[in-house]
């Protein structure tokens, strides 16, 4: 591991611009949350735009009966001709009758429901009482006027915290939705270190949700969970601050922070982590052949940008030109910023046209951006990586560190492979 820089980007001034933000809203989180929580249904109360966003973000129309849907507001709902609360009751009753397997129902607020001040908390309370104990109904907002992309998961988890069962028992909660396979790897590493009573939020099923109390510790596996952090602390649980488990170094630092709290000896820590860590470093090294010495420019997307820039610069030999994030949570990012060597522009929020001007001027070897920008930038000769794949793909912890590096290396490798075509390629109309 490299020596840790003293302050890194901790004191770097942040460029804040206000203009068009080319980002998803928080509803998008439903795409991975509904896969994670297998007995949950996400009912967006919104417009046709919300429904269209969800199916467009899901990419293809793949699921027979998806566990998410949109109660589309119509003219009569807005004109007050229909009582919205009654309408919600009717749609929920119909839905639950058709889907007896559903144990948790999330009423998800949207831009239009927020603007007309539809009280989904009231609806959730009433419906919870009606359908208890079989179904628990919660609400949160995934609206674009309040949340950006991954903040939807934050809002969802924060809404779950107040209803977690109380306990006085000591325990550790891993917070943030991970693919099951990755979650199992993390749990196995902690178990091997002798850390007991480890649970996850969100759990895969409603009946497995963690209990919480003053003797609970928690560690975040995702960097965008600021509101969830606050909610957990309100329940008396104590946060274990750490860098995020991306790459061999990030994973080691994250595990070390947790291990320290539980008094795991250096010897045990080394025994448990040595082999997977070596595997991760080996896998990263393969991708580093492609990535080493290359520059990267991050458009804001998921709040994963700062940890990923740290990973790419410290473990893959890249240079960061700009690291954009939709929202910079200073406390959660403190250790990450300290690790990130000075140099890149840090930007928060977005004026997409101005940022595109900077990206075009910088001409980084790799530009990490949203799907709306990727092909247009490729057509201008820039290599790009779709940011959304970083959220939908297993990338955390040791065994995925090589895959994570590979996601960045592949566009560059592909470009090199197709180099003979380059002079004749013209983007099709």
């Amino acid at each position: 591991m490299k020596d840790l820089p003293e302050i890194g980007c901790s004191n770097t001034p942040v460029l804040k611009q206000r203009g068009q933000r080319e980002v998803f809203c928080g509803l998008t989180g439903i795409i991975w949350l509904h896969r994670k929580m297998q007995d949950a249904f996400f009912l967006v109360v919104g417009s046709r735009t919300c429904a269209h966003l969800l199916q467009s973000a899901a990419g293809v129309m793949i699921f027979a009966q998806p566990r998410f849907g949109t109660a589309i507001l119509e003219e009569k709902d807005l004109a007050g001709l229909a009582d919205s609360q009654t309408e919600i009751d009717r749609e929920v009753a119909r839905l639950l009758a058709r889907r007896p397997d559903i144990k948790q129902l999330f009423l998800v607020g949207s831009c239009p429901s927020e603007v007309i001040k539809l009280d989904l908390a009231k609806a959730a309370q009433r419906l919870s009482a009606q359908f208890a104990p079989h179904v628990r109904v919660l609400n949160y907002s995934g609206s674009g006027i309040e949340t950006t992309f991954t903040q939807g998961e934050d809002a969802c988890l924060a809404a779950m915290v107040p209803v977690l069962p109380a306990t006085q028992d000591a325990g550790l909660i891993l917070v943030g939705a991970l693919p099951d396979v990755v979650e199992d790897q993390a749990l196995a590493l902690l178990a091997e270190m002798g850390i007991e009573n480890v649970t996850c939020l969100p759990a895969r099923r409603a009946g497995e949700m963690p209990a919480i109390g003053p003797n609970t510790r928690f560690a975040l596996v995702q960097p965008f969970l600021g509101d969830t952090l606050d909610a957990l602390q309100k329940r008396g649980a104590r946060h274990i601050p750490a860098p995020f488990p991306f790459g061999a170094e990030g994973t080691t630092l994250w595990l070390r922070a947790v291990a320290d709290v539980y008094g795991v000896s250096d010897e045990v820590f080394a025994r448990v982590t040595a082999a997977p860590r070596a595997r991760a470093e080996k896998a990263i090294a393969a991708a580093t052949e492609t990535l080493g010495g290359k520059s990267v420019f991050f458009f804001p997307d998921s709040q994963l940008e700062i940890p990923l820039a740290r990973f790419l610069t410290r473990e893959c030999g890249m240079t960061a030109i700009e690291v954009g994030t939709p929202y910079l949570h200073r406390d959660l990012m403190a250790q990450e910023l300290a690790l990130l060597a000075q140099g890149p522009v840090l930007s928060e929020g977005q004026d997409v046209d101005l940022q595109l001007d900077r990206a075009r001027a910088a001409r980084a070897d790799l530009t990490v951006c949203g799907l709306g920008l990727a092909n247009p930038l490729e057509a201008e000769g820039l290599a790009t990586k779709w940011a959304i794949e970083l959220v939908f793909t297993p990338v955390h912890f040791y065994e995925q560190a090589g895959d994570l590096a590979g996601l960045f290396a592949r566009p560059l490798r592909r470009r090199a492979l197709l180099a003979p075509l380059a002079p004749v390629v013209e983007a099709a109309e």
Partner: protein, 511 residues
């Protein structure tokens, strides 16, 4: 409120985006919250566009709502005009902005821009994407097109093709060729490829070819009334429809029909003996009204299929599709709820679905092959090769596309001959579809003594009959089973024997 799981159409402002993105030199200033920018990826990813859609979003946030969203809109419009230097802008609101009632049209008018500003009024809570394309194109034409001298040579405008349309790119080439064969030039193609200044000279054409009524019928009507241009009603998809289209054009222009059909292969391909197996195949047709009507005609007159059911998702086309269904003795499925469509398909058990990407997935679940004939589109619907639906080449493409999901004639024959061969077992499927068979629905469990029947009646299958049923090729077994049960049920037969099975087969024989 209405629960929606998957939708066929987006909101109307996405329709406006399809028009704006198809055009050049036009910019759309859209009052919308952050998040609505997702729509950009439809164009850059599905259609592989190499430019961002020409849309500036205000992307207001909650904190702006208490402040001044109107100023935010004005700044966005001014910045967009300064940065992109469009010839004209369209302005409007998405669903959320509609609620805050800032009046983008009124605001833009106060800016003193020296280019045309076209306000759009697209009611997000009543209408959908198709309305959005049609209304947006109408407003653009109304604001910009002016009466002008007719072109000296005979010319037409091609109207209706938009971004994210089903094969619009290639249909334009094909229709241009059809007209060119008759000595007719193209004045303006719009919206696709047109600039606002092109729109101003649309009046120079002698008539309009209305390629897609979904997107341009209102504009066609307006131009007929205000510019005196007749428009074509026949959409040239399929051999017969293309001939009718040429006759219609001849009627409008007074020119004789001239057609170069040297490239047309469908008539021989469909008559050649390998196609015999297509005879009477039961198809279910669903999509936008225009493509459905065209597909029904091709299915019946050019492929020799039997149309078992039809429908469309766009209510604007409900009436003609209902009339068409009645003429076939069917009841149309007019719905934008894919569960209704799935139910209809499951009940009819067609041998082929001609539908949208949504029906393709329904087909996968039900184990029924599907060919895509209509939007909503998927990245697959933008092939690199030339693949029109209209005109002679369109007919060739349609023949290939529709036949592809089926087992070929000769192969069908071989499956019969070798049905006991281990390699021709049920799951073998069509040889040109790797792995497709695994998507077939599993056969229901069978009993040793008697198999339960498909519906809830009390008919049972005797073991020898059940064994015989298994000998029938898997791809017709479901139908044989249903037909036999229906036959038995009509005649009050409680237990199906081998005898019953063959009596039913004879009864339902197509001859």
């Amino acid at each position: 409120m209405k629960l929606s799981l998957w939708t066929y159409e987006g909101p109307p402002h996405v329709g406006a985006m399809r028009v704006a993105t198809a055009m050049k030199g036009l910019h759309y200033v859209l009052h919308a919250p952050q998040g609505d920018t997702y729509a950009d990826l439809l164009f850059t990813m599905i259609e592989r566009r190499d430019h961002r859609p020409p849309v500036s979003y205000t992307t207001f946030q909650a904190r702006d709502l208490g402040a001044d969203t109107a100023t935010l809109f004005k700044t966005t419009a001014q910045d967009a005009v300064a940065r992109f230097a469009p010839q004209a802008i369209i302005v409007g609101a998405s669903c959320t902005a509609e609620l805050i009632q800032d009046d983008p049209g009124g605001l833009a008018a106060t800016l003193g821009l020296n280019i045309p500003v076209i306000p759009l009024d697209l009611p997000s809570y009543q209408r959908k994407e198709g309305f959005g394309t049609d209304e947006t194109f109408l407003q653009i034409v109304r604001h910009l097109a002016k009466p002008c001298a007719l072109s000296e040579a005979m010319t037409a405008n091609l109207i209706g093709p938009t971004a994210l349309g089903f094969r619009h790119r290639d249909d334009i080439s094909e229709v241009t060729r059809l007209l060119s064969d008759m000595g007719i030039g193209v004045n303006v193609v719009a919206p696709m490829g047109a600039t606002p200044s092109d729109i101003t000279r649309m009046g120079a054409a002698h008539f309009n070819v209305l390629m897609y009524p979904e997107h341009a019928e209102s504009a066609a009507r307006w131009m007929q009334q205000n510019l005196g241009q007749p428009y074509t009603k026949c959409v040239p998809i399929g051999v017969g429809a293309t001939r009718d289209f040429l006759a219609e054009v001849a009627g409008i222009t007074g020119l004789p029909v001239r057609a170069d059909t040297s490239r047309l292969r469908l008539p021989w391909w469909t008559r050649s003996v390998d196609s015999t197996y297509l005879t009477g195949k039961r198809v279910f047709v669903f999509g936008d009204g225009t493509h459905v009507a065209a597909a029904v005609r091709i299915a019946r007159e050019e492929m020799g299929f039997t149309v078992a059911g039809i429908g469309c998702y766009n209510r604007e086309m409900a009436r003609p599709i209902r009339v068409l269904a009645q003429s076939l003795g069917l009841e149309a499925v007019i719905s934008d709820d894919y569960l209704d469509v799935e139910e209809a398909i499951a009940a009819l058990q067609p041998e082929l679905i001609l539908g949208t990407q949504m029906e393709r997935h329904i087909g996968k679940r039900l184990g029924i092959p599907c060919a895509v004939i209509s939007a909503p589109v998927h990245v697959q619907d933008f092939p690199a090769r030339y693949a029109p639906q209209m005109g002679w080449e369109g007919a060739n493409v349609i023949f290939d596309t529709w036949v592809h999901p089926l087992v070929m004639g000769l192969e069908d024959h071989l499956l019969h001959m070798f049905r006991d061969d281990f390699e021709f077992h049920d799951a073998a499927g069509a040889s040109h579809h790797g792995g497709q068979h695994s998507e077939r629905a599993p056969e229901p469990e069978t009993l040793v003594q008697a198999m339960p029947n498909a519906d809830d009646s009390n008919i049972i299958w005797l073991a020898p009959a059940e064994k015989e049923l298994k000998k029938i090729p898997f791809f017709v077994r479901g139908k044989a089973r249903r037909n036999t049960e229906a036959y038995a049920s009509e005649r009050g037969i409680a237990a199906i024997s081998v005898e019953t099975l063959y009596e039913a087969k004879a009864h339902y024989a197509r001859g």
